[in-house]
């Protein structure tokens, strides 16, 4: 059982360079894989391709494993609905008839007291926590994480890491991120995204090393672009330099 992307192409926004061109990768089930890419939109798009919520412009995506949505996706949560109602909707979708499921999910992220309150009336961190709890609370063969394994909620981070570790034990997970630290501790192997393609590193440490160099190069280029003459104080480029800066921007994407 595996997930296969073969020669995939995904176009960029309105005439931009494609996000992926000739992208091929294979992810076995129960593998603990990291995907390192400097571009957040490209990482998110790759996860959407893997969980089949986006179709490639060209190429083939095959999957015979039950994958989660990119955790902590929260777009499907409705602010006006109670936490219980939001959880019940997901439970119905995935065929969970257990009456206690909403209570269990909400309790797992320390939101039990808000179970019957509308999401919009809960503390700011509740949405992220609930999205995380729902993602890891369901049974999947492979869990997909976008950016980080844990919500951006400092007091809850440690507990979230424990929940993630417990839920993904014996199953596969995949994280797409631009933060090597997330991959370093948890992943066995890595794909590095570069020029719209993915390079496989069977040992995570090698991939992280290459990606760190990529990040450094990108940073240098951004600094060089920042020092470019002809940019006025208000941040608006002079008319004669617009074309040149445009080219510089393209070269960053190309690298």
């Amino acid at each position: 059982m595996s997930i296969v992307l073969d020669n995939v192409r995904v176009g960029g926004e309105a005439g931009d360079k494609p996000l992926f061109e000739g992208l091929s990768l294979q992810i076995a089930d129960k593998s603990r894989m990291g995907i390192l890419g400097t571009s957040k939109p490209a990482n998110a798009t790759l996860l959407r391709l893997i969980c089949r919520t986006k179709q490639p412009d060209e190429g083939i995506v095959r999957s015979d494993v039950r994958v989660s949505w990119p955790i902590p996706l929260s777009a499907f949560l409705v602010g006006g609905h109670t936490l219980a109602r939001n959880v019940r909707f997901i439970a119905r979708l995935y065929g969970i008839s257990d009456e206690d499921f909403p209570r269990r999910v909400v309790d797992s992220v320390e939101l039990g007291e808000f179970l019957n309150k509308p999401l919009s009336a809960c503390p700011r961190t509740a949405k992220g926590r609930l999205a995380f709890a729902l993602g890891v609370g369901l049974d999947f063969d492979m869990y997909l994480f976008d950016g980080s394994f844990t919500p951006v909620d400092k007091p809850f981070k440690e507990k979230a890491a424990q929940i993630t570790a417990a839920r993904t034990a014996g199953r596969g997970f995949l994280i797409a991120t631009n933060m090597p630290a997330e991959v370093e501790q948890n992943c066995e192997s890595v794909y590095v995204l570069e020029n719209g393609r993915a390079t496989y590193y069977p040992r995570a440490s090698e991939g992280i090393e290459h990606f760190t160099q990529l990040l450094a190069m990108e940073k240098k280029k951004q600094q060089r672009q920042g020092e470019k003459p002809g940019v006025e104080d208000d941040g608006e480029p002079l008319e004669e330099d617009v074309g040149m800066i445009g080219l510089a921007a393209v070269s960053i994407v190309e690298d």
């Binding site: 919520t53 994958v67 499907f76 979708l93």
Partner: protein
């Protein structure tokens, strides 16, 4: 295969429930408007019927005539017109791998079907008491009523594909369907038209639907040349072609 069908039915059920409960939460703008809209349409056509006696056919109870024509027509109209809006509103839900555009549309169509079935049963019961008429062949009436929903879903997908290829298509179809109400037997039955135009009018499957509905309802309702076989062929053809276009749109014509 059965597992996939079971999953899809579960998803449609969950989406329909979510839509219904969202509308009930705001009753004045939800079901309230549906009933109000139906009542207004019904009342205005009743006034026309009584004011212009020529519209009435001798021996045909006018209220039952309208109920059996108008409510199925409104079901069709509400169903074919919901596709683009439902997909637009459900963009966040489409980020869940288990939900497709087809599920969103079918969930919404199910909600519309439930609402109009309640309306149909309520008004038909009232008309039955008022005019002392009971359906001659209730199973036929029920099947034809559901068939209206099926044609609405199929026709809606055809319309959606056309409007994604050529945006103003939806406008043209809107104009055409207003005219279609007159030639589809909602207000005027086939025998009210001169026999010379029958061969042309009978291309319209909705006219067959309306005429058959009344023929199955009223004992002495005579309708020339309509065909159950033609209607079935058209309904299955429209549904098949609509679903075919939905598959095509998923990959080639994203919203």
């Amino acid at each position: 295969m059965l597992k996939l069908i079971n999953t899809q039915l579960r998803v449609i059920h969950a989406l329909a429930l979510r839509e219904m409960s969202s509308q009930q939460a705001n009753l004045a703008y939800g079901f309230g408007w549906v009933f109000f809209d139906a009542f207004l349409g019904f009342a205005s056509l009743m006034i026309m019927k009584f004011a212009i006696r020529g519209f009435n056919r001798p021996g045909v109870p006018p209220v039952t005539f309208l109920v059996s024509g108008l409510i199925p027509w409104m079901l069709f109209q509400s169903t074919y017109g919901l596709h683009a809006g439902t997909i637009g509103r459900g963009k966040n839900l489409l980020q869940l791998p288990i939900i497709t555009e087809l599920d969103l549309v079918l969930g919404s169509a199910l909600r519309v079907l439930v609402v109009y079935t309640i309306l149909f049963v309520a008004l038909a019961t009232l008309a039955g008491f008022y005019e002392d008429v009971a359906p001659r062949f209730p199973l036929g009436v029920v099947l034809l009523f559901f068939n209206m929903s099926l044609m609405g879903v199929g026709f809606g997908f055809i319309l959606l594909a056309l409007s994604r290829l050529y945006a103003p298509a939806a406008k043209f179809t809107g104009f055409f369907l207003r005219f279609a109400m007159i030639i589809s037997g909602v207000i005027f039955s086939l025998s009210m038209f001169p026999p010379t135009v029958w061969p042309y009018l009978l291309w319209n499957p909705l006219l067959h639907e309306e005429e058959l509905l009344r023929a199955y309802w009223l004992t002495n309702y005579q309708t020339p040349q309509v065909s159950v076989l033609y209607l079935t062929e058209c309904a299955l053809g429209i549904a098949f072609f609509g679903l075919l276009l939905e598959r095509y749109m998923r990959r080639r014509l994203p919203p």
